[in-house]
């Protein structure tokens, strides 16, 4: 468990304190994938670096497990950092070392000298990230996605309990991003590793995170289970992120449906309700008519969900809404 208790952070610039993170408290549970989303400058890089104390908080306490990180002396802090892996947007591999030596590097730093032990662990890690054939190459000979896989293997070398991902997919193309996210999800599942990731892409959050916090100008404006935040964003910043991930939905809220008669409703289906034919049944029973304006079915991590924007007309609209809610479908009426 990672706990932030009344933590805040400001930077001193030209004798003035510039606040980067307003006081906040946050708990991240063992084994979950926790996303922090925000625009650049929102403070997310600072926030993730507080966990391994690459950045020191201006106040408050940070716990990793039972250890109060903020109270540790230099030597103990270095020992703790070895238990927290980290990967970076620009990979930050040692250009002068081979892939195998990069992966072995944290183990060597921790004092492992036995070549056979190192070799065995490096082989195991490279096999996990699918780079066995590239052990003796140098980072400059690899693609971006491969470099990030080396970064992941390196971060796992000392068997950490936490993995911090600093914009790990921001420098990668969409396909490579998908495969790296898949690898992270697999690691989370199989190694029971807690993953904290920061990103500016809602899609990254949707694919791998269990919970998310939305950061806006140094303030956590919204937090919760990804499905809740994603399907019912409360704060304007969150809505913007969600709309970026669902461009067609964003358009559907606006003008084009001014001519369509009826009440405009957005139905959200989650999990099992996504797969039941509730809408047709309710329409028959209540005699309403509907017109589909926009819709999609996708997944939030492993949870299937659907969203449907309808124009509903007829005498039974209220009854239909009640029946749909009964069937476990969430309904929101959109104002024109």
């Amino acid at each position: 468990m990672i706990r932030f208790v009344d933590v805040h952070k400001s930077y001193r610039v030209d004798g003035r304190d510039i606040p980067a993170l307003q006081p906040f408290s946050l708990d991240i549970a063992d084994g979950e994938v926790f996303g922090i989303i925000g625009l650049s400058g929102a403070g997310k890089s600072t926030l993730i670096r507080l966990i391994n104390l690459l950045e020191r908080p201006s106040g408050g306490a940070i716990f990793v497990g039972d250890t109060e990180m903020t109270a540790l002396a230099e030597l103990a802090l270095r020992a703790q950092r070895r238990r927290i892996g980290m990967i970076f947007q620009h990979f930050n591999l040692l250009a002068s070392q081979t892939v195998a030596d990069n992966v072995a590097f944290p183990m060597r730093l921790a004092g492992e000298r036995d070549a056979a032990v190192l070799r065995a662990r490096v082989d195991e890690l490279l096999a996990r990230v699918g780079l066995t054939a590239h052990a003796d190459k140098y980072p400059s000979q690899l693609s971006g996605g491969q470099k990030q896989r080396v970064g992941i293997a390196r971060a796992l070398a000392n068997r950490p309990s936490i993995l911090l991902c600093d914009e790990a997919t921001s420098a990668l193309d969409p396909q490579t991003t998908a495969s790296v996210l898949e690898l992270l999800a697999e690691i989370n599942r199989e190694l029971k590793l807690t993953i904290v990731l920061i990103t500016h892409e809602m899609d990254v959050v949707r694919r791998v995170c269990d919970r998310v916090a939305v950061l806006d100008a140094g303030v956590i404006v919204e937090r919760g289970a990804v499905a809740d935040v994603f399907l019912h964003p409360q704060h304007a910043t969150t809505r913007r992120f969600v709309n970026e991930a669902l461009p067609e939905e964003a358009a559907s809220e606006l003008a084009p449906f001014a001519q369509v008669p009826g009440r405009i409703l957005r139905l959200s289906f989650r999990g099992d309700t996504t797969l039941t034919p509730a809408l047709g049944r309710v329409a028959r029973e209540t005699g309403i008519d509907f017109n589909i304006l926009a819709g999609r079915i996708d997944r939030i991590k492993d949870l299937p969900y659907g969203q449907l924007t309808l124009a509903m007309q007829g005498a039974g609209v209220d009854a239909a809404m009640a029946a749909l809610r009964e069937a476990g479908i969430e309904i929101e009426e959109l104002s024109r």
Binding site: L54, F88, N92, R108
Partner: protein, 225 residues
């Protein structure tokens, strides 16, 4: 041999030129090794204590930096003369190869240190941050991250320094340190035997060229990995 005599009528002892070559190489080798041994740690110190670096210490940096700048701004020929008492104290003579090495090192080490500082600054900040995140100590970062990552730049700095040292050794000739510079100065300048001048300058050019080629080779091998 006739051919040589016709071309260089004043040169009667080629062995002297050979010995001068060896002297120059000895001075260069000895001073280069000591320059690296002193300049490399000094460069690392400058880098680490600089503003916004791993161990910022403004006062220590200012003092080191000033000292380096003073030594770099004194023309080498003056530095040699000023340092004579120090030289005598250190090696027991002001003359010959031994007498030349202390001023060469004191003149070149600050220069080399600055080049090392610049080369270290080229190392990506992110790589240093990554090793901090892995729990590396300062010494581990210097030893296993900074120096290996900057080795291309450091080898380039060594090359530049070695070539500067060739120039310095030639100047040393003026105050009796021996070597090719001494030969060019005594025979070529003071005795108007311009063929001596020509041969020594040609040999110095060859030496500098060889150093540059060797340096470039090493740098290309280590850079862009």
């Amino acid at each position: 041999m006739n051919m040589l005599q016709k071309l260089f009528p004043n040169i009667d002892d080629w062995g002297e030129i050979g010995r001068a070559c060896i002297d120059t190489l000895l001075m260069l080798g000895g001073s280069l090794v000591l320059t690296i041994l002193i300049g490399l740690p000094l460069g690392v110190l400058l880098y680490l204590t600089g503003k916004g670096q791993l161990r910022p210490m403004p006062k220590l940096y200012a003092i080191t930096s000033l000292l380096v700048n003073i030594l770099r701004s004194v023309p080498f020929i003056i530095l040699m003369i000023v340092l004579m008492p120090v030289t005598y104290f250190l090696v027991g003579t002001k003359l010959g190869i031994r007498g030349a090495i202390p001023p060469l090192v004191i003149g070149a080490a600050p220069f080399f240190a600055r080049l090392v500082e610049t080369a270290l600054r080229e190392v990506q900040q992110g790589v240093i941050e990554a090793s901090q995140a892995m729990g590396a100590s300062l010494w581990q970062i210097v030893r296993h991250v900074l120096l290996p990552e900057a080795r291309g730049g450091i080898f380039a700095s060594i090359t530049v320094t070695a070539i500067a040292l060739v120039g310095y050794t030639a100047m040393g000739g003026a105050i009796g340190s021996g070597g090719l510079g001494d030969l060019a100065y005594r025979y070529g300048y003071l005795s108007y035997k311009s063929d001596y001048m020509l041969v020594t300058v040609a040999l110095l050019i060859v030496l500098v060229q060889l150093l540059q080629m060797l340096g470039d080779r090493i740098v290309t091998r280590y850079k862009q990995r």
